[in-house]
């Protein structure tokens, strides 16, 4: 999905398209953005992910020019853009409500931005037609926004914001108003359009699946700060904190003091019958309290005790059958509940385990990540 060659953030010679340098935004006493530093590169599909009120929308409004930072600087292609009003920025935004002008036709909505720039008629016509084609709306140019469906409105909003070929396109919860099925189709459409136009996209979303699907990099935010910025794989497999691990997908957390147990290997006493071992690139002090985060699908479930380092016995408490997967909630002797996931590869196979069964769960030493916060 992600082009392995495309990783400008790892190349120190590439200048970022946007950089936030120690940006803080306060509304009265409320700190919406807290001393934030971040680079976004050209042609990136960058996702800002976080719960509501985490400051992701404020960041977007700062980029669009609707708000100005309280302190710090924001550079677009190396120029400070603080104080430039929204109508003078080479940045366009797709609004959460789409904000289509109800009294103008689809065609006129798309042409609006071009007209403001005084684009000559022929060029304008060609550009609008191009945009209609790109978003598969050729047949709907003469309709008014209330005469088209929700999915089409979303595409008009996208076409309108792309028409001026901005350096940067901001998308505020662009798929929030669509139902689930349509949303999934549209995600791929968005990615195609982003690739075709080569525009840098910054998307704000609270839907982690959406962020993982579309983005080249994801920034997980909380309370005005960025907790982690990384590719979707890194965010999922190597979260830097319990917050990120917990926010993206399902996770089991085992907490306790660690002891060194070989090269890059630690044993963690989480309060079970015996300690578990885990590999880690990061070093921890003897006796430091550390969290081990393991994804449910990395935990196996067995009737007999398997060979291997981390095996714990427990009792099946709950089974969630999801069709393609089954998640078992296994209660350990110390009371902690661990989620283990298995793939249902065979149709109508006899279920191996049922409620109250005693089972063994196990995982490898590399399955989880050790985190200090």
């Amino acid at each position: 999905m992600v082009d392995t060659v495309f990783a400008p953030w790892d190349d120190p010679n590439v200048a970022p398209l946007i950089s936030f340098k120690n940006v803080t935004k306060r509304f009265g006493d409320f700190v919406a953005i807290d001393d934030l530093t971040l680079d976004i590169f050209e042609r990136e599909f960058f996702a800002l992910l976080g719960p509501s009120g985490c400051g992701k929308t404020t960041m977007m409004r700062l980029l669009a020019g609707f708000e100005n930072p309280t302190s710090g600087s924001m550079l677009l292609s190396g120029h400070d853009i603080a104080g430039i009003p929204p109508n003078k920025r080479a940045v366009n935004m797709m609004f959460q409500s789409y904000a289509l002008f109800p009294h103008l036709s689809v065609w006129e909505n798309i042409a609006f931005g071009l007209r403001r720039d005084g684009v000559v008629k022929d060029v304008l016509n060609a550009r609008v037609e191009e945009m209609l084609k790109l978003t598969r709306l050729e047949k709907f140019g003469r309709r008014k926004p209330h005469q088209i469906s929700g999915g089409q409105r979303q595409r008009v909003a996208l076409a309108r914001s792309l028409a001026k070929a901005p350096k940067l396109l901001l998308l505020d919860e662009p798929l929030g108003a669509l139902d689930k099925k349509l949303r999934q189709d549209t995600q791929f459409e968005l990615m195609d359009i982003q690739e075709q136009t080569g525009t840098t996209f910054v998307i704000v979303t609270h839907d982690q699946e959406e962020a993982m699907t579309v983005a080249s990099r994801v920034a997980v935010m909380d309370e005005g700060r960025i907790i982690q910025v990384a590719t979707p794989e890194k965010i999922y497999e190597a979260p830097n904190s319990v917050y990120v691990a917990d926010f993206i997908g399902d996770v089991n957390i085992l907490t306790g003091p660690v002891k060194a147990a070989g090269v890059d290997t630690y044993s963690l006493d989480f309060g079970g019958t015996e300690p578990v071992t885990a590999n880690s690139d990061r070093a921890f002090a003897e006796g430091e309290t550390v969290h081990l985060a393991i994804r449910p699908e990395k935990i196996g479930i067995h009737a007999e005790r398997p060979d291997g380092p981390n095996t714990v016995q427990g009792k099946v408490l709950d089974i969630a059958y999801l069709g393609n997967l089954s998640t078992y909630h296994v209660q350990l002797p110390n009371g902690q509940i661990i989620k283990a996931q298995t793939t249902n590869t065979r149709r109508i196979s006899r279920r191996a385990f049922t409620w109250e069964d005693l089972v063994w769960i196990s995982w490898s030493a590399t399955a989880g990540v050790l985190l200090d916060q």
Partner: protein
């Protein structure tokens, strides 16, 4: 800081600030000059002496602003308290406004209720029929009642014809005619807020109350009335406040028999040409009105808070 974008940026802001200033200042100064300043003048004149000149009060602006504000006296207010005409007029205005408000509520509520119960497709039409009279001339609507209520008017003829009376009733030029006039002209103000409250009322609440053992009547008292209270209160204020200062209705329908403060003010000003006393009457009317206006505002605020 002031790089390439600095200079045009500043000019842009300056033009915007100017636009914003004009946008705010134009209506602001208009209202200051034609609403607030006149009030200050009314207060001022209420506190000056009557004089046989034009303008018939002393001191005037020609005597200088300081003189205008320094030579204040409360004679006119003392005069108002001494002459019981004014007392009676204030009390009678309050009484007429209060009684007509109650009557408007009694007549308006059932209409609003029936409108809210009417089939959906009728409601817009019914609403329009309630608002329509408001667009037609107030003066004409009041005038229409003269022909109906007079001694040889249509109402008396009708009652005589059906044999209900043998002597014509005197309705015109009494308080009854004023009540009828006020109820007639202000009933849309009562119906609309009550209707708005009743329309929002979820019909399943009544069903739930009946399901829990209420009779129809009881459900109405315990559910419908309390939930439409906001509309009732708003409607009452919307009738009471303008009725208190009403001038046209008591003048046309009340005759000399009804004393109302709006009428007294008008006559004091145009017939007696006693401007200071007229201004003092206006000031006291305002003071009386402030209480219901503040209560009304608070009720509206509470409604909004409850919704938001």
């Amino acid at each position: 800081m002031f790089g390439l974008v600095g200079a045009p940026q500043l000019a842009f802001c300056w033009i915007n600030d100017l636009r914003r200033f004009v946008l705010i200042a134009l209506p602001y100064f208009w209202l200051l000059a034609l609403f607030l300043v006149p009030f200050v003048i009314v207060f001022k004149i209420a506190l000056s002496d009557a004089a046989l000149a034009i303008p018939p009060y002393m001191p005037t602006m020609k005597d200088g602003l300081s003189a205008m504000f320094l030579q204040l006296d409360f004679e006119n207010f003392v005069f108002l308290t001494e002459d019981d005409l004014y007392w009676k007029a204030y009390l009678s205005s309050l009484r007429v406004a209060f009684i007509s408000t109650v009557l408007t509520l009694l007549f308006g509520y059932p209409i609003a209720y029936a409108m809210a119960r009417a089939p959906h497709e009728w409601r817009a039409t019914l609403m329009m029929l309630i608002i329509l009279p408001f667009w037609t001339s107030f003066l004409i609507r009041v005038y229409a009642w003269i022909g109906i209520l007079s001694t040889e008017g249509l109402l008396n003829r009708f009652l005589f014809w059906i044999g209900a009376i043998s002597e014509p009733l005197t309705i015109l030029n009494t308080s009854t005619a004023v009540y009828i006039g006020i109820v007639y002209t202000y009933i849309p103000f009562m119906i609309l807020p009550i209707y708005a409250a009743l329309e929002r009322l979820d019909a399943s609440l009544i069903e739930a109350a009946e399901d829990l053992g209420c009779s129809r009547m009881k459900a109405f008292w315990l559910i419908t009335i309390p939930l439409s209270k906001g509309g009732i209160v708003a409607g009452c204020f919307l009738v009471f406040i303008p009725a208190l200062g009403e001038f046209v209705i008591p003048s046309l329908l009340g005759g000399s028999g009804t004393l109302m403060i709006g009428k007294v003010l008008f006559e004091e000003f145009f017939s007696n040409r006693d401007w200071p006393v007229a201004s003092a009457v206006a000031v006291i009317l305002l003071l009386i009105l402030i209480v219901p206006i503040i209560l009304f505002q608070r009720n509206e605020q509470r409604q909004q808070d409850a919704e938001g």
